[in-house]
């Protein structure tokens, strides 16, 4: 299974679950819910952080944080 950090720019995916429990609480609060569609909108010039479109807005997060979000195959 891929993580959000592995998606390419403009690629879309459905959130499946989280690898890190305490981080997942924060991510869920921010609207990254399992079953929600996310799209990778921006990648910063040095490859990190990235910005994703989720629940109708734009959220930026670091690559290692994105690696905790699992994407459905």
């Amino acid at each position: 299974m891929r993580s959000l950090a592995e998606l390419k720019k403009n690629e879309r995916g459905i959130i499946n679950g989280f690898k890190d429990d305490s981080l997942s609480v924060k991510l869920i609060e921010m609207g990254c819910l399992p079953g929600t569609e996310v799209s990778v909108d921006l990648i910063a010039p040095f490859g990190d952080p990235i910005a994703i479109g989720v629940s109708g807005y734009c959220l930026s997060l670091r690559k290692d944080e994105a690696a905790c979000i699992m994407i459905e195959d």
Partner: protein
């Protein structure tokens, strides 16, 4: 009016929901910044006149995404809302949401609703929602959420009157919770409800979730809660995830039912198009560095006029005071102590105002979070954060506004490191010191045909400051332990046209805070330094007039006599004695007691070095310019070697010392204010002085 009959209203909402704009609209200039009791979080509150003639106190609570705090600032929200005994516990709550992004914004609303506090829901930025082609059924939403809803546009002020009207009416407390938490932990909730005599299930549940963090519970109560949780098998994190997911399920259903999106989902929004450009690998950095250069130039260039005006007016006023008061201690204390200190405070206002005008503009427009997004990776390598960029660069103009600008760094560790290293950046006050010393020892010649050698040395000094900042940040990153796990999960809000009122209020607020809070300390230090430099307790000082009269001879003019007298007095004052006491300590750096005096007095501000040098070397006030001082310094002989005192070794050692040493009471005062204690300003001063001392020692030995 007594404070008891004023109702307290708390503003709560997500960051970027326009909460502060709404607060400004409700209170206008009628606001103040203070402290929440017992914690280091700024409290913004103000008063608002309601249509029924009563006045309400409005408290602007820090923006947060949920009732579970992630930062110290956010913690204040639950500290207040979960503790009905808290002095700031509100009678009513206004939950502010971004109408164009309802789903995520409603999470916090549902949590606060279930605490059973009377509340009203504001759908702010309703204009943005319309622009996004969202059709919101306000009536349906109000029924489904069980709350009174007021749509507002904080740009035009539409809806504010309706909101004020709503605040005068009794707001009903909903009988049933929005999301019943009970089934998640029935036994734990029942036990805590009985133990603490609570009525709402959600309050009891919050006791279980957050007991460790709740400041109003004592250790015994916390132990009791821990025991209840243990007995009933309550685990924080999984239950919290379950709760949030459950809430979102309800919210999603309600939002889908009442908000219709008629926009083509594949069409790129304006914000997305702008983002393509401002985060571009080439144009992104180009735009960012242009913006920084503009800020830096503005602080340097635009502030100069007003600063001269402020200094000039105070000097004139001070001269007037000297004229009407009889000569003596009172007159000297007022002019050389208090007014000089006041000038030292007010002179920073133009720089603070300009920097915060830019910062407010960048934040209001939404660009700031993109700049942070661009810089985060680079800054993280040295223990800083994308948000440290603006303070660091502004530090090249002046560390005072720069340190105040670290406010928006949420992670305390990152913020502390930024505050700690910013004073290393070469500020404009170092320039006069550098200018004199470079002119003294660096020949004016071309290097490689195009570079001016003096300019290169100046550049090297700026670079030195920058490297010291980065290096220190790296060291601190290794030493400091992170209090909380730091996140970089940050919303990139849509671009907006800034509100001039908000920018104006930010400038006003920041200037006022600086004058009132750092100002006290600056004036106090200024008075102490004045006392040190104008009083002495030895016979030489007491007999100064006679001794100087003898020295200069009968034929000397009155001016020559006065110049010689002030030099003589400074030499034999307390500061002069200190200069001589510390001479053995600064001897290894190549300094004598005269430089020692300048080091002590220029603790007020680096540029005071120039004035002190001219007093010590008896240069009359009218000749107090760089060239004269430089000439005088060039003539000064070293009594031991017989050669010139100001050799390149001494001058470079001094330059390096001034590049690194704290030598600025205003910075000290602002660090005290921003870290709310003396611990960090003292550590910082000791550290910077140590770095300065060691580097100056090495420099002196290399060049001599």
């Amino acid at each position: 009016m007594a404070s008891t009959d004023r109702i307290k209203i708390a503003l709560v909402g997500n960051p970027n929901s326009g909460k502060t704009t709404l607060f400004n609209l409700l209170t206008g200039l009628n606001q103040k910044t203070g402290n929440f009791p017992g914690v280091t979080v700024d409290k913004k509150s103000g008063f608002s006149k309601l249509p029924d003639g009563t006045t309400a106190e409005i408290i602007d609570l820090p923006g947060t995404y949920s009732i579970y705090p992630k930062t110290l600032d956010e913690q204040i929200v639950q500290d207040i809302l979960l503790d009905p005994e808290h002095s700031q516990y509100p009678d009513k709550v206004i939950v502010v949401t971004d109408a164009s992004n309802l789903k995520r914004n409603l999470l916090l609303f549902t949590q606060i609703r279930d605490l059973g506090i009377p509340l009203v829901l504001v759908l702010n930025m309703i204009d943005v929602a319309q622009l996004k082609k969202l059709n919101i059924d306000l009536r349906g939403l109000s029924i489904d959420l069980g709350v009174k809803i007021i749509p507002t546009n904080s740009h035009s002020g539409d809806g504010i009157a309706a909101l004020k009207e709503a605040l005068t009416q009794p707001l009903v407390k909903s009988k049933r919770p929005f999301y019943d938490i009970y089934d998640l932990a029935p036994k734990t909730i029942d036990a805590i409800k009985t133990e603490f005599d609570l009525t709402e299930n959600y309050r009891a549940y919050q006791y279980a979730q957050q007991s460790v963090r709740l400041n109003f519970l004592n250790d015994k109560e916390k132990e009791r809660i821990a025991k209840i949780k243990d007995e009933n098998g309550f685990y924080d994190v999984p239950t919290q995830s379950q709760e949030t997911l459950g809430r979102y399920q309800f919210i999603s259903d309600i939002v889908d039912r009442n908000v219709k999106n008629s926009r083509d989902p594949l069409k790129k929004s304006v914000s997305q198009k702008i983002d393509r450009v401002v985060t571009h690998p080439v144009f992104g950095y180009l735009i960012f560095f242009t913006v920084l250069m503009l800020i830096f130039q503005a602080i340097f260039a635009w502030a100069e006029g007003p600063m001269n005006l402020i200094e000039g007016s105070i000097a004139e006023f001070s001269g007037w005071v000297k004229g009407i008061l009889p000569e003596g201690i009172l007159s000297d204390l007022l002019t050389d102590g208090v007014l000089a200190g006041l000038a030292g405070v007010l002179v920073f206002i133009p720089q603070i105002a300009i920097l915060f005008a830019f910062i407010a503009l960048l934040e209001e427009s939404g660009y700031m979070s993109r700049a942070v997004f661009l810089m985060d990776k680079l800054m993280r390598k040295v223990g800083l954060n994308g948000k440290s960029v603006v303070p660091l660069i502004s530090g090249m103009a002046c560390a005072i506004p720069a340190i105040m600008a670290t406010r928006n760094i949420e992670s305390w560790k990152d913020r502390l490191i930024t505050i700690f290293v910013t004073p290393f950046m070469s500020c404009s006050a170092r320039l006069p010191v550098y200018a004199i010393l470079i002119g003294l020892v660096v020949p004016e010649q071309q290097v490689l045909g195009i570079f001016n050698l003096q300019g290169l040395v100046l550049q090297a000094l700026y670079l030195l400051g920058f490297l010291a900042a980065i290096g220190s940040a790296y060291v601190m990153k290794l030493i400091l332990k992170a209090g909380q796990k730091s996140y970089f999960i940050m919303e990139l809000p849509g671009y907006k046209i800034p509100s001039w009122k908000n920018i104006g209020l930010t400038i006003y607020d920041k200037s006022k805070t600086f004058v009132l809070e750092a100002g006290k300390i600056i004036i106090a230090i200024s008075i102490v330094l004045w006392v040190l430099a104008s009083y002495g307790f030895n016979d030489n000082f007491r007999n100064a007039e006679e001794n100087v009269r003898q020295q200069v001879g009968e034929n000397a003019s009155q001016e020559e006599y006065e110049v010689a007298l002030s030099s003589y007095k400074l030499e034999h004052s307390v500061a002069g004695s200190f200069g001589k006491i510390i001479e053995p300590a600064i001897r290894p750096l190549g300094y004598d007691w005269k430089i020692g005096i300048a080091l002590i007095t220029s603790f007020a501000a680096r540029e005071v070095f120039v004035g002190t040098m001219s007093t010590i070397y008896s240069i009359g006030a009218s000749d107090d310019d760089e060239v004269t001082i430089r000439e005088r310094l060039r003539e000064e002989k070293n009594p031991e070697t017989g050669g010139p005192m100001y050799t390149p070794a001494v001058a470079f050692s001094l330059m390096v010392f001034y590049a690194f040493a704290m030598q600025c009471m205003s910075t000290l005062a602002i660090v005290y204010r921003e870290t709310k204690g003396w611990k960090w300003p003292i550590i910082q001063t000791v550290y910077m002085t140590a770095v300065a001392y060691i580097s100056a020692f090495i420099t002196y030995n290399i060049f001599s």
